[in-house]
Amino acid sequence: MKMMTKTSLFLAVGATALLMNGCAKPGGAGMVGYDSTVKYGDAKATETVTADFGSTDLQSTAEAMTQSLLESRYIIKAQQPPKVRLRTVNNLTYEHIDTKAITDKIRIKLLKSGQVRFLADKANLGEVSDERDLTTTATTKADLKSMTDSDYIITGNVRSIKKANDTVKDVYYNISLELVDPQSGEILWADEKEIRKVTSKSSVGW
C-alpha cells in the first residue's frame, strides 16, 4: 500500500510536469533576466557569441579592405591624395547589419594613412552645408562644387548565404567594395572579403 502511494505521488508529479511543459522557459535570448557582472574585454579579441555578423568580422573586413585599397595604383601612384566619397554599402543579408559601421571604420583607417582625403558623405552633406551657411554670408556654386566633387567614390555590398541541416548551420558572408570614377563610371579597383561561420547543434540536450 505504501508502495502504491509512492507510485501515485510520482505519477501525479510526473503528469503535472508534463502538463506544465508549456510553462518551461525556452531560454530565448533577450528575455531572461539574469544576474550579471560587468568587466572590460579586449576590443580586438575574437568574438564567437553567435554566428551573426559581429565585431571580429567588422574589424577583419575593414583591415583587409583598407590594406587592399591603399595598395591599388590609383591611390599609391596619385600625385596628391585623391578626394573620395564613401557611398552606401548595400546590406543584402538576412541580418540587420549596420553597414555604416563598416564604412566608418574603413574611412578612419584610410584617413589615418594620409593617402586619401574624404568628402562628407551624403548623409552629412546637409549638415556641412548648414554649417557653412552659418559661418559665411553666402555659399557660392563654386564652394558647393568643391564640397561635392570627388575624384572617386567607394561603394559595395554585403551578402550572405545561409545553409543548414539537422546538425550544422553554415553562414557565408561576402563583403565587396569598389572604387569608381564618378565621371566615367569605370570601376578602378574592387576587392572582397569572405567570412564563413559554422555552428553545430548538439546531439542531445535540453
Binding site: L19, G22, C23, N90, L92
Partner: protein, 455 residues
C-alpha cells in the same frame, strides 16, 4: 481517505492552469478589446502582463497591437523577442528533452501541454509585418532584410511540416495494421466543412502568400537593392503571381488620357497603399465527447480548431485624382490557417485517439474501483483539467485576416481617400517626394489608423 493519483495530478494541474490563465488577457478579451475606446487599455494591459513572455503568441500579439498603435520601434522590439523564441526552438539539440516531453505530454495527456511555436503562415507573416514597421520608420533596407528572413524561415517550417506529415502517415498505417482505422475527419467536428472548402483545397501550400511576395517585390524595388541582388524584385513578383494571378491588379499604370496620365511627370508620385484588416482565426482545442463502456464514463477526441475571423472587411476602394481603384485581396489568413489544419489533421487525429484511449482506460479503472460514479467523476476531472490546460494553447490572435496592396501613380500633394465597409478615411500626400507608402490598420470599424512614409 484513499489517495487517488488522478485526482492529485489534475488538482495540481488545475491550480497551475488557473494561476496561469488568470494573469493574462484571454483570447476573447484581446480580440474584443480593440475598439477605439478600449484599445488603449487593452494594449496597456497586454503589454504589462509579462507572465506569458516566454510564449511566441504573446510577442506576436503585442507586436501587432503596437504596430496598429503606430509604435513601430516598439513593435520591432517585440517581433525580435518572438524571433528569439523561435530561433531557440529551431536550434534545439537533435534529441531535445523538451521536445520529447512536450511530445509525450501532448500524445498522452492534453494537446494544450505543447508550447505553440507558430504555423508556417504565422512565421512568414511575422517577418512581413515587421517589414512594414521598418518601412514606416523609413528604413527600406531593413524592410528588405525582413523579407529575406521571411523566405529563410520557410525552410525550417517546410522540413518540420514534412516530418509531421510523414509521422502522421506512419501512425495511420500502424493503427490500420492494429485494426483501428482512424477516420479522416471525425463526426461532429466543427471544422469538417471548412476543411473541405474549395479555397482551402486549392491553395498551393500553407505557408506562402502572394501578399508577402508582392510586398517584397515593392520593397526591393524602392530600396534600390533589386539589381544588386539578381533582380530579386522581379523574382518575388513572379512568385506572387504563381500563387495568385490577381497580383497583376495590384499594379496600376495610368491609362492614356486619364487625369493621372496627363499630369506632368515631375508632378506625379508613386503611391503604395497597404491595408491590413480584421483579426485572423484564433486557435482553440475542440472536444468531441462520447460515452464509453456503460455510458457512465466518457472520453473525448481533442482536436485543434479555430474560432472565425472578426472585424474583417469586404473590400477597399481608393479614390485619388479622379481615379477609383479596387486593390485585390492578396492575404487570406483564414484560408491559410484552415489549410494548415487540414494538412496536420491526420497527425493530430492519431494523437487525439491515443489521448482519448488513455483517458478511457483511466476512467474504466476508476469505475472498476469506485463504481459508476467514480468512473464518471474521473472522466469529469480529466475533462476539466485538460480544458483548463488547453485554454492556454493560443496562437497569433490579432494577426490581420486580410491584406490588400495597390501601387499606382497620382498627383503629388493630392488627397487620397480610402473607403472600407462604408468608412471613409482621407490623407494628404506629400508634395515634394517621388513616392509614398500608406499603411492602413483596420482593427475594428471604429478603430482605423493610417500612417504614411515618403521617400
Amino acid at each position: 481517505m484513499k489517495y487517488s493519483p488522478l485526482k492529485g495530478a489534475f488538482l495540481l494541474s488545475l491550480c497551475s492552469a488557473i494561476a496561469l490563465n488568470a494573469a493574462v488577457l484571454t483570447s476573447s478579451q484581446l480580440r474584443f478589446g480593440l475598439s477605439k475606446n478600449s484599445f488603449p487599455s487593452t494594449l496597456a494591459d497586454f503589454a504589462s502582463q509579462r507572465s506569458e513572455d516566454d510564449e511566441l503568441w504573446y510577442w506576436l500579439n503585442l507586436a501587432r497591437l503596437q504596430q496598429a498603435n503606430g509604435d513601430f520601434n516598439l513593435s520591432i522590439q517585440s517581433f525580435e523577442k518572438g524571433y528569439a523564441i523561435l530561433d531557440e526552438y529551431e536550434n534545439r539539440a537533435t534529441v531535445s528533452l523538451r521536445n520529447l516531453s512536450s511530445f509525450v505530454g501532448s500524445a498522452l495527456l492534453t494537446k494544450g501541454s505543447e508550447s505553440y511555436y507558430g504555423k508556417g503562415y504565422e512565421r512568414t507573416l511575422m517577418h512581413t509585418l515587421n517589414a512594414l514597421n521598418y518601412i514606416m520608420s523609413g528604413d527600406f533596407e531593413g524592410a528588405a532584410v525582413e523579407m529575406r528572413r521571411m523566405e529563410q524561415r520557410q525552410e525550417f517550417w517546410l522540413k518540420e511540416s514534412e516530418e509531421k506529415i510523414k509521422k502522421a502517415a506512419e501512425e495511420k498505417e500502424k493503427a490500420k495494421r492494429q485494426g483501428n482505422e482512424i477516420p479522416s475527419i471525425p463526426q461532429g467536428y466543427s471544422m469538417a466543412a471548412l476543411l473541405e472548402d474549395s479555397d482551402v483545397r486549392e491553395m498551393a501550400n500553407n505557408y506562402q502568400d502572394p501578399f508577402s511576395y508582392t510586398l517584397s517585390s515593392i520593397i526591393l524595388d524602392i530600396s534600390g537593392q533589386s539589381a544588386a541582388s539578381g533582380n530579386s524584385a522581379e523574382i518575388s513578383l513572379k512568385r506572387a503571381l504563381a500563387l495568385n494571378p490577381n497580383v497583376t491588379k495590384a499594379f496600376v499604370k495610368s491609362p492614356q488620357g486619364s487625369p493621372a496620365s496627363v499630369t506632368k511627370q515631375s508632378t506625379k508620385m508613386n503611391v503604395t497603399v497597404i491595408v491590413l484588416a480584421g483579426e485572423a482565426p484564433s486557435l482553440k482545442i475542440e472536444k468531441i465527447r462520447f460515452p464509453i463502456y456503460y455510458a457512465s464514463e466518457y472520453t473525448s477526441i481533442d482536436l485543434p480548431s479555430y474560432t472565425p475571423p472578426v472585424n474583417d472587411i469586404n473590400g477597399v476602394t481608393i479614390m485619388s485624382n479622379k481615379m477609383r481603384l479596387h486593390p485585390p485581396r492578396l492575404l487570406n489568413t483564414d484560408i491559410m490557417a484552415y489549410r494548415t489544419l487540414k494538412d496536420e489533421l491526420p497527425g493530430e487525429l492519431a494523437k487525439a485517439v491515443v489521448r482519448a484511449t488513455t483517458k478511457a482506460i483511466t476512467a474504466k479503472q476508476a469505475s472498476d474501483h469506485f463504481g459508476n460514479l467514480g468512473g464518471f467523476v474521473a472522466s469529469l476531472v480529466m475533462d476539466a483539467g485538460s480544458s483548463l490546460v488547453d485554454a492556454g494553447y493560443r496562437n497569433w490572435e490579432v494577426l490581420p485576416n486580410s491584406g490588400y496592396i495597390m501601387q499606382f501613380e497620382t498627383k503629388k500633394g493630392g488627397i487620397l481617400s480610402l473607403s472600407m465597409n462604408g468608412h471613409e478615411e482621407s490623407l494628404t500626400l506629400p508634395a515634394d517626394k517621388k513616392g509614398a507608402v500608406v499603411l492602413v490598420s483596420y482593427l475594428t470599424p471604429d478603430n482605423i489608423r493610417i500612417d504614411h512614409v515618403a521617400y
